[in-house]
C-alpha cells in the first residue's frame, strides 16, 4: 500500500501515502479511546528509537505508539551511550543493525542524517527530525489534526508563523500541505525566512494581522532560542509586538481561527497563555493525533495491512 520503504521527509513524498497514513491513523485514534489501548499488530517487531538530540514529546509519542502496537522498543540517547566514547555514527548504527532490528526512528541534529543512515542499514528508517531539515511525522499529525477539524485539506488557508529558518516543522508542513492542495502563507521576521522559500509554492507576509485575516488556521512555531547565534531578531518583546499570537490580536478577528503549535511553547513570547489554552487551540488534539499517526506510520511501514486495524 505504501511503496516507499522509509519516511525521511515529505519533499516529493506521494500525497496518497499521506492520505493513507491519515486514514489509518483515524482508525488507531479510535483504538486510543478504548479502555484497553493496545493491539497486537506489530508483535515480534523490534524498533530502536535512536535519539541524537534531546526530545520529550516526539520520543514519548513514538514509544507510546510502539507499545500500543505491541512492538519491542529500545531507546537510545546519544548523551548516555558509546557515542560519548567517540564511536562513529556508522559503527553505532551497524552495531544496532547487527542485532536484527526492524526499524530505526531517528532524531538527529544534522540535516540529511536519516538519508545517510539508509546507506548503512537495511532497517526501515523513520525521520523523527533532522536538524533544520524535516520533521515528517510532526507534519502528518498536523495535517491529520486539520483534517479532523475541517474535514478536508484542499483549499485550506494555513498561516505558519515564526522562525521558519530553523524550523523542520515548517518545511515538512509546506511539502505535505501543498501536495494535498492547501495554501500556505509564511509569516515571521525577514531574518528568519530562508532564501527563495517562495519557490516551494508559498506566500510570504511580514504582517501577522493580515495573515490572521486571511487564514483558516495558524500554526505557531516555537522561537528557538537555543538555535540563535547572533541576534536574528532584536528582542522577544519586539517579536511579540510584531508577530506574537496575542489575546488582543485574536479578539480583533471575528472568525474562529484555529490555533496550532508543535510544542514546546514559549508562553508569552510567540503565543499568549490564554490563546494556547482557549477553545480555538487544538494543541492537545495534535498531541493525541501524534500517537495515532505514528502508530499508522509504523504499522504501514513495517508490513501491516490497513484492513487489519
Amino acid at each position: 500500500m505504501i511503496k516507499e520503504k522509509h519516511l525521511l521527509g515529505l519533499e516529493g513524498y506521494p500525497a496518497e501515502n499521506i492520505e493513507t497514513i491519515i486514514d489509518t491513523a483515524f482508525g488507531f485514534r479510535e483504538v486510543l479511546e478504548r479502555p484497553i489501548k493496545k493491539v497486537p499488530s506489530l508483535q515480534g517487531k523490534t524498533i530502536v528509537n535512536l535519539f541524537y538530540e534531546d526530545s520529550t514529546r516526539t520520543r514519548i509519542s513514538f514509544e507510546l505508539a510502539q507499545k500500543r502496537l505491541s512492538a519491542d522498543t529500545i531507546n537510545f540517547s546519544a548523551s548516555s551511550s558509546s557515542v560519548k566514547k567517540g564511536e562513529s555514527f556508522k559503527d553505532t548504527v551497524q552495531n544496532l543493525e547487527a542485532m536484527k532490528i526492524d526499524a530505526i526512528v531517528m532524531r538527529h541534529p544534522y540535516p540529511g542524517a536519516p538519508l545517510h543512515l539508509t546507506k548503512f542499514v537495511d532497517a526501515v528508517v523513520i525521520n523523527a527530525g533532522d536538524g533544520t531539515h524535516e520533521h515528517p511525522t510532526q507534519a502528518i499529525l498536523d495535517i491529520m489534526s486539520l483534517k479532523e477539524h475541517f474535514g478536508r485539506i484542499k483549499g485550506l488557508k494555513i498561516g505558519i508563523v515564526g522562525d521558519i529558518l530553523h524550523s523542520r516543522v515548517a518545511l515538512s508542513n509546506i511539502h505535505g500541505l501543498t501536495s494535498l492542495g492547501a495554501e500556505i502563507t509564511l509569516c515571521g521576521p525577514a531574518t528568519l525566512i530562508p532564501k527563495d522559500i517562495e519557490k516551494l509554492g508559498v506566500n510570504i507576509s511580514y504582517n501577522i494581522d493580515e495573515v490572521m485575516d486571511w487564514a483558516d488556521a495558524i500554526n505557531v512555531l516555537r522561537i528557538q532560542m537555543e538555535r540563535m547565534g547572533v541576534g536574528l531578531f532584536p528582542s522577544t518583546r519586539e517579536y511579540r509586538n510584531l508577530f506574537g499570537i496575542t489575546h488582543e490580536r485574536l479578539e480583533r478577528h471575528d472568525k474562529k481561527l484555529v490555533i496550532m503549535h508543535p510544542g514546546p511553547m514559549n508562553r508569552g513570547v510567540e503565543i499568549d497563555s490564554n490563546v494556547a489554552d482557549s477553545s480555538q487551540a487544538i494543541i492537545l488534539d495534535q498531541v493525541l493525533n501524534g500517537v495515532a499517526s505514528r502508530m499508522a506510520i509504523l504499522y504501514l511501514l513495517l508490513g501491516g495491512k490497513q484492513e487489519a486495524v
Binding site: 562513529s88 540535516p111 540529511g112 530562508p194 527563495d196
Partner: protein
Amino acid sequence: MKINKLNKNVFLKDGTIYDPFTKKNIRGNVLITNGKINGIGDIKAPSGTEIIDCTNLVITHGFCDIHAHFREPGREDKETLQTGAKAALAGGFTRVCVMPNTNPPLDDPESIRFIVEKATETPIYIHPIGAITKDQQGKEITEMGAMKAEGAIAFSDDGVPLQNAYVMRLALEYAGMIYVPIINHAEDVPLRNDGVMNESEVSTRLGLSGNPDIAESTMIQRDLQIAQSVNSILHIPHVSTQKSVEQIKKFKLAYSIVTSEVTPHHLYFNDEALTTYDTNLKVAPPIRTEDDRQALINALKDGTIDCIATDHAPHTIEEKEAPFDLAPFGMIGLESCFGAVNKILVKNNGMKIEELIDLLTIKPRKIMGFEQDLFADGTLAEITIIDPIEKWTFKKEDIYSRSINSPFIEQELYGKVKCTIVKGLIAKI
C-alpha cells in the same frame, strides 16, 4: 598507471602536436633524447628508438595546476608530495603549486625549503606557495623575501580568507615589491557565517545553512580595489559566482595585472547535485547555481577567468562519512580534471580543444611566471598526450591520490590523458 624511466630515445609518432607557446598546431612526430626535446615535426625515428603510437592523439605541454593541497607536512594520512605527484601524473599534470595550509603551515623559509627539497624526490615539479601571514592567523605578514628566495612562487592563506583589509593591503604592497602574486581565498567570513553550501532554494529545501554568493563577490571587490590602489599582483582563486565574474570583468578593463582561476567542479556541477547530501560535493567556495555555472563557462571563453585549477583537496573517508554539516570542505580533482573540463567546455560548450589546453598549460604557467616554449630543442621534456574524444567512466581505480573524496566517481567523462612525460619519466595511464 605504469611509470618508467624514459629510454634514451623515445619517438612520439603520428600525433597532432599543439604548442600552446607558439600556438602552432601540426601533425607529426616528437623525438625525445635523454629526456630532452630533440626534434618536432616531420622527422624520422633513429634506429633502436622506443616508438609510441600517437595516432588520433594530441601531444602538448604538460598540464600545470596552480592550486592543490598535498597535505604534507602534517596530514600525510590524506596525501603526501609523493602520492599527490602520482595523482598529478594520472591527470596529465607535470607541474603543481601546493598550498601552504599544512600543519605546520608553510609560513617561513625553512618550511618552503622542506617542500622544495622533498619535491626533488617526486616524479613531477612541485612549487610551494607560501602563507601570507604567520600561522595563517591573518595578523602579521611572513618573510616573503626569504621565502621567495627558497622557492615560494606566490603567497596565499588559502582555506582561511584574509579578513582584515589592512593586512591584505600590507601583504599586497609587500608582495608587489618582490613581484609575486597574492592569492586570497575570497570569502567574507561574517557574511559566509556558518554556511555549508550555496544559499539558494536548494539549501532551503535541504535545511542546510547557506553561504551567499555575495560573501565571495564583495570580498573580491575589496581585494581588486586594494590591489589596484597599491599596484600589486592579485590572483583570485576558485571563482564561483556570476557576481564575482562581473566584478572581475569590469576591473580587468582598468587594471590588467589581475588574474583568476576556476575549478573543474564549479564548471561541472550545480547545487541541485547536493540533494543527495554527498559530502564529496561539500567544497569551499560552494558549488553554486546553474546560472553561476554558465557564467563561469562564459568567463573562461571570453578570457575574464584566466585558467583552470583543480583545488585538489584530499580528505579521509572517515571525515567525509560524517553528516554533511560536520564533513570537511574539499574534493580531490587532479585525476578527473581533463575528462571533466573537456566534456563541459569542448564537448558541451563548443570551445576549441586548443583553447582548453591553453587554460591548462601556458595560462597557469604565465600567472606563476614560468611559461616557456616547452617544445624548443634541448628543453627538458614536459609533455602530456591526450585522447580528446575517448569516453570513459571515472572509477575509484583511476584515483592515485591517497584519498578518494571525489564526486566524479561513476561520472562519464569525455577525453582522457594517455601519457605524461616529465623529469625523465614516462607515465602511461
